[in-house]
């Protein structure tokens, strides 16, 4: 198996056992990034030197016995709205094009303490506002399963990087589904923890009462490992919670016997793609077959979640983004005629269309005369939605449903109609309003071969139940395959197995392991020379006998 195809837990075990070094692992993934990122544009910034320096440090600590955890020596990617000291952090905005933070986000610090190596910063929707990673000022990210399709968003760069083998795992942030939805579109696992579980210190704020950082990984075990590493109480974030039960890896057991699982009728209703519906129901059957008690029920108020969400998120965004004034940091217009004109011009030129749209909507719903009718009303609706979930969790351990109504849309299809794009968040958004944890994991592919995501939602603090259910389902489902490996049970997998155990690193005159697997042949033909017609990855592995 190539390093790029390994999970974090597998890779770290190999590094700790001395089979490969952290430096070799990082070099290998950096090679993958060089070979593939021209195709997908997962990264805004790659920190080659920094990553190699970190890897050397980590390797020394592993050898000295100071790093023994499941992320030691693992190359990870970080969404570009998490501050990294000394490393440019853009939020995918022109506004922060040259911003170099003087401090590091707590979640990133926690990852580094666990021995992970930060490779660079991933692309996203500008200021995390969007569901496709198309509103980035640094170009769109493409879906590794099919380059004509979006990777989802806003953490699209992180999800695509995991799917493309351009990192082993990644951090994202989720305000209304921004981890779970791109995870679903890219065939990866993504989790939004209970609000307050991961410190938001150093996360550039969008909707502060909704934002939460979480993992994007290849499987549920890695998801638990990353969450365990990043969860911490932090005095620098006043909404940070003190939790004792953050040993999430202990929940990796195959056991859903007697677990009560509810499927909201409204999550299977109008607008849901047939393939998605079938895959999600099949996953529910799978869990029932493992001893879970699965029922349909009526979770009320589903249709009110989007209006409440966009009111609250826009209001908080308009307030949070007031700080961008062109004075202390960030973009300043070249033609400033005075202080106030400079503010207005800098912001008009520095922010993209979707960001301005939300700032204006937010300013409006907070303005006197409309505050009660919109903002306050939305906070009341939020209270009712939370109550509906409380009632549901009195009956069920876990709520099951789709992540999104469809699989990944084609590039360019969503931006033309913002409202339609917002409606795609219908199954993920209520989770943020109610502060709940939710996990997304692959449960099938549609007729076009695009991944479908299964969403499991838990009551506050019930991440372990989610991990248990997700892990059980994942084991029952079997390997999902990767975007590059053309699915499980193929020649690519057989070759990967034959190669397992022989770790090679890239170097002069040597074809890297990841390159070979990726290209689907041993010809050593650079990815850039391959035809990009027939963007389905399986079509490009022409050299493999099937």
């Amino acid at each position: 198996m190539g390093i790029a195809d390994m999970t974090a837990v597998e890779l770290s075990a190999a590094v700790r056992a001395g089979q490969i070094t952290a430096v070799q692992a990082v070099e290998e993934i950096l090679t993958c990034i060089e070979e593939r990122d021209a195709l997908y544009n997962c990264y805004v910034t790659v920190d080659r030197e920094g990553a190699l320096a970190q890897a050397k440090e980590v390797q020394a600590k592993i050898e000295a016995g100071h790093l023994t955890g499941p992320l030691a020596g693992v190359p990870v990617a970080v969404k570009d709205n998490l501050c990294t000291k000394g490393l440019r952090t853009t939020c995918a905005s022109r506004m922060l094009g040259n911003f170099v933070p003087t401090y590091t986000a707590e979640a990133v610090t926690n990852l580094r303490k666990a021995g992970a190596v930060i490779l660079g910063k991933t692309n996203m929707d500008e200021f995390a506002m969007g569901s496709t990673t198309e509103t980035s000022a640094y170009g769109v990210t493409r879906n590794p399963w099919n380059r004509e399709h979006v990777p989802g968003g806003s953490s699209g760069g992180s999800a695509a990087a995991v799917a493309a083998g351009e990192c082993i795992c990644a951090l994202g942030s989720d305000t209304g589904g921004s981890i779970r939805q791109p995870a679903a579109f890219c065939g990866t696992v993504g989790m939004k923890p209970t609000y307050g579980t991961v410190s938001r210190y150093g996360l550039i704020a969008y909707g502060s009462s909704l934002d939460q950082i979480g993992p994007l990984t290849k499987d549920v075990r890695d998801c638990a490992a990353v969450l365990e590493a990043i969860a911490s109480h932090d005095v620098k974030d006043s909404t940070s919670l003190q939790r004792q039960d953050t040993d999430f890896m202990s929940a990796l057991t195959e056991d859903v016997q007697g677990m009560r699982i509810g499927i909201p009728d409204d999550y299977l209703g109008e607008g849901l793609d047939e393939d998605v519906r079938a895959a999600v129901l099949k996953a529910a059957e799978e869990l029932a077959g493992r001893g879970a008690v699965v029922e349909r029920f009526d979770l009320s108020l589903v249709e009110y979640a989007i209006p409440a969400y966009y009111t609250i998120a826009a209001a908080e965004a308009s307030s949070n983004l007031e700080r961008f004034d062109g004075i202390k940091y960030g973009y300043r217009t070249g033609n400033d005629a005075g202080l106030h004109s400079m503010y207005r011009k800098s912001r008009a030129e520095g922010f993209g269309e979707e960001v301005k749209r939300r700032i204006m909507l937010g300013s409006f719903v907070l303005s006197s005369g409309y505050y009660d009718a919109y903002y306050l009303k939305a906070l009341q609706v939020k209270a009712l939605i939370k109550k509906a979930f409380d009632e549901a969790f009195a009956k069920y351990d876990v709520i099951l449903g789709p992540v999104a109504p469809t699989t990944a849309p084609k590039l360019g299809e969503s931006l033309a109609d913002p409202l339609k794009m917002y409606l795609g968040d219908i199954y993920t958004i209520a989770v943020n309003l109610a502060g709940l944890p939710g996990i997304s994991l692959p449960c099938g592919k549609d007729r076009k071969g695009l991944p479908i995501g299964l969403q499991l939602i838990g009551d506050c603090f019930q991440e372990k139940k989610l991990i248990r259910a997700a892990y059980t389902y994942e084991r029952s489902r079997g390997p999902f395959g990767t975007a590059g490996g053309a699915g499980h049970g193929t020649a690519a997998d057989e070759r990967a197995q034959a190669d397992a155990g022989s770790f090679r690193t890239s170097g002069e005159g040597q074809v890297s392991q990841c390159g070979m697997l990726w290209q689907g042949g041993k010809s050593g033909r650079p990815v850039s020379e391959q035809s990009t017609e027939g963007t389905d990855r399986t079509n490009r592995t022409g050299g493999i006998p099937s």
Partner: protein, 97 residues
């Protein structure tokens, strides 16, 4: 309720949002916002009489800590991000003539 978006309203929102909008952008903003508000108005269907607005999911009140400086002096690094800087200070455009 979409008719509330008058020229004056859009101009006012531009002031609140501190955004300079071109004529085209103003028109686009008006149409986008009217559509969005017409949709958001759906919340009006719900009777929320007596419902306490929920800004936070958990009953976390103010969290206090001692105001102790823990970071080092980072003035120089911080000023590196400033669009304009002089003698260790941020430079802003002239405010008064």
């Amino acid at each position: 309720m979409a008719n509330i978006i008058s020229d004056e309203t859009i101009a006012y929102v531009g002031v609140l949002a501190q955004l300079e909008l071109s004529e085209e952008e103003r028109e686009q903003a008006r149409s986008d916002m009217s559509r969005m508000l017409a949709y958001i108005d759906k919340m009006g269907e719900l009777d929320t009489t007596g419902v306490e607005p929920m800004s936070h999911v958990f009953p976390v009140q103010n969290v206090f800590r001692e105001d102790v400086v823990t970071n080092e002096d980072m003035r120089e690094q911080i000023l590196l991000n400033a669009p304009e800087e002089r003698d260790g200070m941020f430079v802003a455009p002239r405010t008064f003539e």
